[in-house]
Amino acid sequence: MEFSSPPIVAIRNLSKSYHRGNQTLPVLSNINCDIARGEFVALMGPSGSGKSTLLNLIAGIDSADQGSIQVGGIEITTLSESELARWRAGNVGFIFQFYNLIPVLTAYENVELPLLLTSLKRRERRDHVEAVLSVVGLSDRMDHYPSQLSGGQQQRVAIARAIVTDPEILVADEPTGDLDRVSAEEILQLMDRLVSGFGKTVIMVTHDPRAAEKAHIIRHLEKGELNDAP
């Protein structure tokens, strides 16, 4: 695949194994992959194929055994743990299957969390949080706790949290896995809007073919190897 501009994610010869006792379980072997800026990519594959591991490696929350991962021109495999944490805070937005909102914080406070790692003042943080909650259509729910929201609403709060620092990349691990069909459709439309309207790059792991259909590109992982969609 050729790109008119450099890819936002460039993976070269990436391998990753897990160790259990004396056993070594290879998960990813010699992966090479480029993802263009502003693309909506779905990673599919059977359970244990390594798609979540690949997503975690791109997001900088797991470390590779060998190979290179460049995201936005930065080689993240050489960053220290605290450098990676700072990098994630500014460059990656996370969307999880079970939303992973902090139950004791309100929707507003959950969305504000990543901004606490920036130098923004309280007033500026408020402007950002209100803006993204309006993008996800939850301006009237900002004082609600997660337990007071439906699954779809919680996932929208999680998406607001993912985009509040304006990262280039959003990583989503089964974002519709815990939702009914209507809510799942709303979330996928919202993610599609983030790509088409806001220029975000979305990398989504999913089992659901209907969810994958929303993506521009579908990649299959099987036995640790990456293939283009059949």
Binding site: A59, N100, E109, P114, L117
Partner: protein
């Protein structure tokens, strides 16, 4: 900026029953800690308040208290004529020769016996202690078998009340007055005429002499002169110093006892806090993974959980100090081992005890929360996220 404090506070609030139970355990320890310090403080305040800085107590050299002391009549007369002694408005020296004897009286209600200080006093004795006033009745007439009781004696001992009769020294003594000595050791004494007491107890020497300094700043010079005088085998102390020395052994004993109890109890409370905080970490593994993924550093996680443990400790501290503050309403009586006499005093909560208790509760929270917080901070992000 790290994880907001509201995160730690609200997590404690969400688990309020667990928080309350753990904080109560810590509160109990803080209660014991604060109460023993309050007891020692109350004892010290009572004994120190008993003395006046302008007064000088003279006792036999190397005697620790008036009970062990003997000042010969001749030595007392020499001291009485010293130029340092202040003169009262009636032209007589503000100088009292006093006898201190311990007797055994039965308490009201329980009938259990306890040692009580009998003080043979002179005419100037009451004037030398301006904090003491006659609450009821009158002072004993010189040469009579009359006594006045401290308010605490009148209330707690059989025969010690106004108009009642006490038997000691093989004589009956009528209580003709009650002294209000506030929160001082004199509340636990019975006063009578010193010459009558010396006859009754067959004593040849006074226990101590007490006088007001004419110029209080000249005390050191007076002390040096008296203690180097070969005719006098006595030592002079400011009255406040004398009573402070009296309280030292007892209050040190109370403090050490309190510390030992507190250390033993605090081990249990710290283990309780550790279990609670480990449970908090175990229940929030997914949250920890999420916060780390969002970009919060390990130290932010560590400080959020330590903050939670400190808040837990502070809750315990507030509960403990709150409960201990009610102890101020209680007056207890115990044996003062320095004078072997019964002494009534109250628990006293000072600002120093308050902050020491709260600091102690924070330390318990910190120690209890440290291991769980380290565990939370060391968690692997992917493993933590999988647990959610």
């Amino acid at each position: 900026m790290g994880i907001p404090y509201s995160y730690s506070f609200r997590n404690l609030w969400t688990r309020r029953l667990t928080t309350l139970l753990t904080a109560s355990g810590m509160g109990l320890v803080v209660f014991v800690f604060a109460a023993t310090l309050m007891l020692a403080e109350g004892l010290q305040q009572t004994l120190v308040a008993t003395g006046s800085p302008d007064n000088v107590v003279v006792i036999r050299k190397s005697a620790n208290s008036e009970v062990q002391s003997a000042v010969e009549r001749g030595q007392a007369s020499l001291l009485e004529s010293a130029p340092e002694v202040a003169i009262g408005p009636d032209g007589n020296p503000l100088f009292a020769k006093e006898l201190v004897v311990l007797i055994n009286l039965k308490k009201r209600g329980s009938d259990s016996p306890a040692n009580v200080v009998i003080r043979g006093v002179s005419a100037a004795s009451l004037r030398l202690r301006p904090a003491i006033r006659l609450k009821e009745g009158r002072m004993p007439r010189p040469g009579s078998a009359e006594v006045v009781s401290g308010a605490s004696i009148a209330r707690r001992f059989k025969g010690g009340g106004m108009g009642e009769t006490l038997r000691f020294g093989m004589r009956d003594w009528r209580v003709v007055g009650v002294l209000d000595a506030g929160a001082t050791g004199f509340s636990s004494e019975i006063w009578g005429d010193s010459d009558q007491m010396m006859q009754a107890f067959r004593r040849q020497a006074y226990s101590s002499v007490i006088f007001r300094m004419r110029i209080p700043s000249e005390f050191e010079a007076f002390k040096a002169r008296v203690e180097s005088d070969p005719r006098l085998t006595v030592e002079a102390k400011r009255e406040t110093r004398y009573y402070l020395d009296q309280s030292e052994a007892m209050s040190s004993f109370l403090r050490i006892l309190g510390m030992v109890l507190t250390v033993v109890f605090s081990i249990g409370a710290v283990i309780g806090a550790t279990i609670t905080m480990y449970a908090a970490v175990a229940n929030r593994i997914g949250e920890i993974g999420t916060l780390r993924a969002l970009g919060f550093q390990r130290r932010s996680i560590l400080s959020a959980f330590i903050m939670e443990a400190l808040l837990l400790g502070l809750c315990g501290g507030i509960l403990g100090v709150g409960a201990a503050s009610f102890m101020q309403l209680i007056t207890i009586s115990t044996m003062n081992w320095q004078s072997f006499s019964e002494l009534a005093f109250s628990f006293s909560l000072t600002f120093g005890i308050l902050w020491k208790s709260l600091l102690f509760s924070l330390v318990m929270g910190l120690v209890g929360g440290m291991l769980p917080a380290v565990r939370a901070a060391r968690m692997n992000i992917v493993t933590a996220l999988r647990a959610s």
